[in-house]
Amino acid sequence: MALGLTLIFSILDIINFAHGEFYMLGGFVTYYAFAVFGVNYFLTLVLAVLVVGGAGVLAERVVFRHLRGKTLNAFIVSLGLLWVLQASAQLSFGVLDKSVPSAVSGIVRVFGLVISRERLVVIVTASALITALYLFLKFARTGQAMRAVAQDPDAAALQGVNIEAVSALGFGVGCALAGAAGALLAPVFAVSPTMGALPVVKAFIIIIVGGMGSLPGAVLGGLLLGAVEGIGTLFMTSAAVNMLGFLVVIAILLVRPRGLLGVA
C-alpha cells in the first residue's frame, strides 16, 4: 500500500488521495472472484493485481496525465476520484461490510508468538511483492527507466525514455500494489466501500516517516509505525497512540526533513 503510494509520488509527484480506493477495489475483486464465484485464491490475487493495475493505468491515461507538474490540481482530482469511486462502490456493492472467508485457517506459533496462518500468508506474499518490486526497479530496464523519471523527468526524456508510458506504468504498478494489498487483506479484515480511508492515512504517515519517494524508506516506515502502535497500545489509549503516530511524523520531519531514508 505505502509502497504503491510512494512509487506514484516519486515518479509522478502526485499526492494521490484516491489510493485507498484502489485498495478497496482490490478488496472487492477478491470478494467477488473468491468469495462469490469461488475462483482459486492465488488466481484471485493475480486477478486483483491485474484489474486494479489496469484501473490505475486507465486513471493515469484519462485523468492524471493532463495534470503533470500540477501537484495541487492532481490532489483535487484525486479527491474527486476518491468520492466517485467510493460512492460508486457504495451504490453497486451495498453499504454493509462484506466478509471474505479465509483461504487458509488455523494458527501457528512462531517463537512463542501466536499468528494466524492467513496473516502469515499475507506477510510472506507482501515480502515477496516488495522483493519483486525492488528487483524490478533495480534491474529491469523499465524499472530503471521509472527510477530515472522519478529523479529527473527531463533528463530521462533526453535519454530516450518514453515518459508517457513510464508514467502510466508507474501509476499502474502503484495501484496494482494497493490492489494486491486489498486482495491480501480482504480475508483478514472485511471489505467495505470505505475500507480505504484509514489505510491511506497510515500509508501517508509511513511514507513521510520513511522518506518520500524512497522504497526502502517505505518499508522501514511501515515497520516503525507498526512498532510505535504496537508498543504504544500497551501503555496508552488508542487515541493517544494515534496521536503519537502523528507526533512521531512531526518529530521525524524536524530532525530529518526528508524522512528517514529520503534524499535531499
Binding site: I15, L67, V201, M243, F246
Partner: protein, 336 residues
C-alpha cells in the same frame, strides 16, 4: 500595488458587500439565511487559506485554528463567564498564538513535506479536541450548550442574536472586516511579496525578504481569521465536535479554493460560491450527491486547471483565437 489585469479591488469588494446586503433583502427564510451564513464563514476561511497559499504553501491544518478559536471561545464564555464580545476579541488571538509555535515547526519544511506535516498537525489537534480534557472540551460527545452571542447593548436598547437574521448580519460584519483586510493585503506590497515568494523563494530571500518570518506572519494572520470564524461558529451552532475540524471539512476548503483558482484573491470567492450552491442543489440527490460532486471536481480541474476564475478569460481567448484562425483562413483563401 501596480495595476493588474482583472477586477479592481474596490469594485470587487463593493460587489461582495452589496451581494451580502442583497441576501436578507431577497429572503428572510431561515434556511437560506443559514446557507448564506455558512457561505460567509467559508469565504473567510478560504480567503485566509488562500492568503497562506499565496506564498506557495498549502496549510492542511488551517481549519484546526478555526477549532482552536471555537473551543477557546466556548470555554471563555461557558467556563470563565466572559461575554461573547470579549471572547470575540480574544479567542482569535488565542488561535493566532497557538499558530506561532505550530507555524515555526511546520515552516521548517516546504512543498509536499509542508503539506504532510500540517496534515499531521491537523490530526494531532483533532485528536486533542476529541480525547483530551474531556471535561472541558466535551470529548467525543462534543461540547454542547454554548450560548448564542449575547445581546449587544446599544444606546437605543440591545440587539439580540437569537434569530438567524441578526446572526447573519453579525457574520456579514465579520466577513466584511476579514475581506477588507485580506483583499487589501492582496493588492498591497504583502500580496506582491507573497507572489514573489511563491515564484522564487530563493531570489526573494537574496533580495532581502526574511521569508520564514514572512510566511510565519501570514500563517499567524490566516489562523487569526480562522479563529475568528471559529468563534462565530461556536456560538451560532452552539455545539462543537472534533469532526468539524477534521480532514473532511479541511479538504472541502482546499477544494473551494483550488476550484475557484488559488492564483487570484477572487478565486476562493468564486469557488466557494459556486460549490456552495452546487452542493445545496446536489443535496437532493442523496446517495448520488458525493458521486456527482466528485465528478464535477474532476471535470473542472481538467477543463480549467487554473480554476473557475480563469474560465471567462480562457473562453474569450479561445473565441479570439477562433476568430483569428477564421480570419487567417479567409485571408489565406483571398491571398493568392
Amino acid at each position: 500595488m501596480s495595476r493588474r489585469p482583472g477586477l479592481s479591488p474596490a469594485l470587487g469588494f463593493g460587489l461582495l458587500a452589496a451581494a451580502g446586503v442583497a441576501v436578507p433583502v431577497l429572503t428572510r427564510d431561515s434556511y437560506y439565511l443559514d446557507v448564506a451564513t455558512t457561505l460567509l464563514m467559508n469565504l473567510v476561511l478560504t480567503l485566509s487559506l488562500r492568503l497562506e497559499m499565496s506564498t506557495g504553501q498549502l496549510n492542511m491544518a488551517h481549519i484546526s485554528f478555526m477549532g482552536v478559536g471555537a473551543y477557546a471561545s466556548a470555554l471563555l464564555v461557558t467556563r470563565a463567564g466572559w461575554s461573547f464580545w470579549g471572547s470575540l476579541a480574544v479567542a482569535p488571538l488565542v488561535a493566532a498564538l497557538v499558530a506561532v509555535p505550530v507555524g515555526r515547526i511546520a515552516l521548517r519544511v516546504s512543498g509536499p513535506y509542508y503539506f504532510l506535516i500540517t496534515f499531521a498537525f491537523l490530526e494531532v489537534l483533532r485528536l486533542f479536541f476529541n480525547n483530551f480534557f474531556v471535561d472541558y472540551l466535551g470529548g467525543p460527545s462534543g461540547l454542547v450548550e454554548i450560548p448564542r452571542p449575547h445581546p449587544l447593548p446599544l444606546s437605543g436598547g440591545a440587539i439580540g442574536f437569537a434569530g438567524k437574521l441578526p446572526q447573519y448580519w453579525l457574520m456579514y460584519a465579520l466577513f466584511l472586516l476579514a475581506a477588507a483586510v485580506l483583499i487589501r493585503l492582496e493588492y498591497s506590497r504583502f500580496g506582491l511579496v507573497a507572489s514573489a515568494i511563491r515564484q522564487r523563494d530563493l531570489l526573494a530571500e537574496t533580495l532581502g525578504v526574511d521569508i520564514i518570518r514572512y510566511k510565519l506572519g501570514v500563517f499567524v494572520l490566516g489562523s487569526f481569521f480562522a479563529g475568528l470564524v471559529g468563534v462565530f461558529f461556536a456560538h451560532s451552532h452552539q455545539v462543537l465536535h472534533s469532526s468539524d475540524f477534521g480532514l473532511e471539512p479541511m479538504v472541502l476548503l482546499v477544494v473551494f479554493t483550488v476550484i475557484g483558482g488559488a492564483q487570484s484573491v477572487w478565486g476562493p470567492v468564486v469557488g466557494t460560491l459556486v460549490l456552495a450552491v452546487t452542493s445545496e442543489l446536489l443535496r437532493e440527490l442523496h446517495h448520488y450527491e458525493i458521486l456527482v460532486y466528485g465528478a464535477v471536481l474532476m471535470v473542472v480541474m481538467l477543463v480549467c486547471p487554473e480554476g473557475l476564475v480563469s474560465l471567462p478569460g480562457r473562453i474569450a481567448h479561445a473565441l479570439t483565437r477562433r476568430r483569428d484562425a477564421k480570419a487567417a483562413a479567409v485571408g489565406a483563401r483571398v491571398a493568392p
